[in-house]
Amino acid sequence: MELHCLSIHQLAAELAKGQVSSCQATEHLFERIERHDPVIHGYLELQQDAAIAQADRIDKRRNDGETLGPLAGVPLAIKDNICVSHGRTTCASKILGNFQSPYDAHVIEALNAADAVILGKTNLDEFAMGASTENSGFGLTRNPWNPETVPGGSSGGSAAVVAADLAYAALGSDTGGSIRQPAAFCSVVGLKPTYGRVSRYGLVAFGSSLDQIGPIAKTVPDAALLLAAIASHDRRDSTSAELEVGDYLAEIERPVKPLRIGVASEYFGPGLDKEIAQAVRRALDLYESLGAEIVELSMPLNKYALAVYYIVATAEASSNLARYDGVRYGYRDRDSKDHIDMYSASRAHGFGAEVKRRIMLGTYTLSAGYYDAYYLKALKVRTLIKQDFDKAFEQVDCIAGPVTPTPPFKLGEKIDDPLTLYLSDVYTVMANLTGLPAISIPCGFSSAGLPIGLQLTTKAFSEELLLRIARMFEQATDYHQRKPKLQS
């Protein structure tokens, strides 16, 4: 197999045997990026010198017989809303176009401690707001499976570079499906961990009560390896859990038995693409053949999830994004006559249309007189949805369903119709509202050859179980091994 096609586990084995060096692997990827990324545009910034220097350090330490971290010498990509203290952190927004973070995010410290190599920063919808990566302030990203279609979003850059073998894995962030939906669109594995499992310190906030960083990888074991490296308690994030991190790899190959998988009939209602429904049904049949029991569930409150999500997420976003005002850092309008004018002009020119739309929505729902009707009510429904899931997990170990209502759509198809685009999140927002871990794994292709994902959700802090269930499917199928044909 070609060097760039290897999984992290395979690469690590080659590195350990001395068959290949980290420098070779890293340089190889940069060559590939140079050839293919002009079309895909998954990367916003490459950190070639720093990456090769790090790879070289790891190679030397390996030659010296030093004990190395679990991701030693593995080249990875980072979504550009995660702070890295060298290079820029832009969130794909003009308002942070030249922003350099003075510190590393917790997950970056963790990757450094694991001896990983960072290739660069990947594209996203501005401030992670979107489902197609078309909302980037610095150009859109194309789906490696078909450059006329979107890679999904907001972690579209991360999913695309992993799918195109331009990184061995990547970090994304997921507020309403931003890891899982692009993973599904690009036929890679995307995991949103339980809220609180991975520190948010250094993740530029969108919806603070929903955001979570997670891995996008080629295989389930690779996702497990990456999660193990970044998951931990962090004092700097008060919402990070003081729980031991499980050993996600120890039993990942062992099938879960007995296994009860719940399926909500509501998931297969109108709006779901037929081919996706079929692929998900086939996946359930496969689980049944592997010994799982399929349990029909009814989760009637799910239909409110999208509305609740867009109230909570935009409200938090309107507050989180208030700090981008041109006073201390980022873009500042220079022609303003006073500071109020400077705020308005800096924000009007610095933010893109979708970000402004969400700030306005959130500002509205938090305003006096509307708060009770919108935000407070949304919080109450959120609690009820959580209870719905708690009840479901009394009956089943896992809930399965589609990740997206449609396969990857065409570039430009939905960008002028924000409401339709918001519907892309209809199956993914529940995991964010409830805080539950959820994974997207490849489960087929449409007749047009576009990827389809399967979503699995388990109880809070049961990533070990979730990964094992996902691995059962992966072992029995080869969807994850198929590769897109790239243009250059």
């Binding site: 702070c83 510190y103 310190y201 993740l203 700097r236 008060s238 006073v327």
Partner: protein, 491 residues
């Protein structure tokens, strides 16, 4: 017709924790601009707040001292408004669940006790400061951004300037007693926002009456400006009401914000508040709610010292001190503690109180410290008090020895001996001097003996001569008795 001022006060107190409310930066005044800052208090992208437990405990301690109900469950809220000194453009505060509420404080105003209700006291983070004296631009200094701030809101229970001042001063005294704030006015540790209106009533109709429109004055940072603002507003509103008795009333005019002009000594109109401010409060998702259990609350309660008003009452009763001296001794916890330690070490309360008042407080003030900071241990001062109590040194000499003790670590007795300051009460030693003086001043002796007009003056003269000849060491009482005996033959 008449009116009664109705005044409520909001006070912001900066707590004297080592670090800021939500990050580890030093909470320290006076450093170069933007030196005590980090990504968190600068509001950089991606940062998260973590709560300072010490600040929370300080705030609870104050809530307890104000007889408040302490909430067992509280949360944090974001208060949104745009201002350059507020890095995140929202302030982390407490909105609908303050950590303490429904309390009161008792004040002594003109010898009367007055109870002022406390609506609530909650924690928040301070903002930075805009710096306007730079050429061609406005600077922002964020050293203060994120400093823990306790907001204490009173009920509108104050009816006069002296009550407002007693309340404000009691709050300052209280936070210093609790050692939760230095309450240094010059460093902006305390800021006042009075709400003032007048209750206008007609004696003929006891149930009738109305309020003048409420005026809120923001950001007063000295007792002087608070006092003048409230006095000015009472007069101004009374004048407005007299000029327009039917129109100048709360139900016909909205609330108004005014600012204090320190130069012209007037309040200046700023804006009307037609409706409530729009702060878009919502629960802070980056922080967990705070739950206080009995054990934690118990540990905080255990730190509560005897409060000023209780201590005042006890000092009056236990030591029989007068109002003025007691007020002085209990004004600061350190002074009261020191005084009690001196008494504990064997001094008589009056002697200790007088020496602390006349020497200790004066010298401490001169040296910019407090009495305990003078470096004279309670035991040593008690030793000095005992010398005076036992007539071994005179009151005047004791004051001198107090000063000498600042420079010397010797026991007071040794200082007195070394400097020949011990009083001679020994009659045999004094008899020779008295005999000498009497023999040399026949006229004065005669005057004294005569018992006439000049007798009193003559006795003072003789005593003065004795004191002089003993170099001030004669115990005047003993010497006087000796003179009386010798001249008048009294025993």
């Amino acid at each position: 017709m008449g009116y009664r001022p109705t005044i409520g006060l909001e006070i912001h107190v900066e707590l004297s924790t080592a670090s800021k409310m939500f990050c580890g930066c030093p909470n320290h005044f006076g450093d170069p601009p933007n030196s005590n800052v980090c990504p968190v208090c600068l509001g950089m992208p991606g940062v998260l707040p973590t709560m300072n437990r010490q600040a929370y405990e300080y705030a609870v301690l104050m809530g307890l001292a104000l007889n408040c109900r302490i909430a067992t469950f509280t949360k944090w809220d974001r208060k949104g408004y745009y201002y350059p000194d507020l890095p995140k453009n929202y302030q982390i505060s407490q909105y609908d669940l303050p950590l303490s509420s429904n309390g009161y404080i008792d004040l002594l105003v003109n010898g009367q006790t007055k109870r002022i209700g406390i609506t609530r006291a909650h924690l928040e983070e301070d903002a930075g400061k805009n710096v306007h004296d730079l050429p061609g631009c406005t600077g922002v200094d964020l050293n203060r951004a994120g400093v823990p701030l306790l907001e204490i809101v009173s009920e509108p229970d104050m009816n006069s300037v002296p009550e407002v001042m007693a309340y404000a001063r009691s709050m300052r005294q209280l936070v210093r007693y609790l050692n939760i704030s230095q309450a240094n006015m010059q460093q902006g540790h305390m800021r006042f926002e009075p709400n003032i209106s007048l209750w206008v009533f007609d004696d003929a109709e006891p149930d009738g009456g109305h309020y003048t429109p409420i005026v809120e004055v923001k950001n007063l940072n000295s007792f002087r400006s608070l006092e003048r603002t409230v006095a000015f507003e009472i007069d101004r509103q009374a004048g407005q009401w007299q000029a327009d008795p039917d129109g100048y009333r709360m139900d016909k005019m909205s609330k108004q914000n005014r600012g204090w002009d320190d130069v012209r000594e007037v309040t200046v109109y700023q804006r009307h508040k037609e409706e409530a401010d729009e702060y878009r409060y919502f629960p802070e998702p980056d922080l967990l709610p705070v739950e206080i259990d009995d054990a934690w609350l118990g540990r905080i309660k255990a730190q509560l010292p005897e409060l000023p008003i209780a201590r005042y009452a006890r000092f009056r009763k236990e030591f029989g001190l007068d109002e003025k001296l007691t007020t002085l001794l209990t004004s600061e916890r350190g002074t009261a503690d020191y005084f009690e330690a001196v008494v504990q070490a064997g001094a008589s309360p009056h002697r200790a109180a007088n020496l602390i008042q006349s020497q200790g407080l004066r010298l401490a003030n001169e040296r910019g410290t407090d009495v305990a900071g003078l470096g004279i241990s309670a035991e040593r001062l008690a030793g000095l008090c005992k010398l005076a109590d036992e007539d071994k040194v005179s009151a005047t000499t004791a004051a001198g020895i107090f000063q000498a003790m600042l420079e010397s670590d010797d026991p007071p007795e040794k200082i007195a001996q070394d400097r020949n300051l011990m009083q001679v009460s020994d009659t045999s030693a004094l008899e020779a001097i008295v005999a000498e003086v009497l023999s040399e001043n026949g006229k004065a002796v005669a005057d004294y003996k005569s018992g006439g007009k000049k007798a009193k003056k003559a006795r003072s003269f003789i005593l003065g001569q004795v004191m002089q000849r003993s170099k001030g060491q004669a115990n005047p009482k003993v010497a006087g008795e000796l003179i009386d005996r010798k001249v008048l033959g009294q025993t």
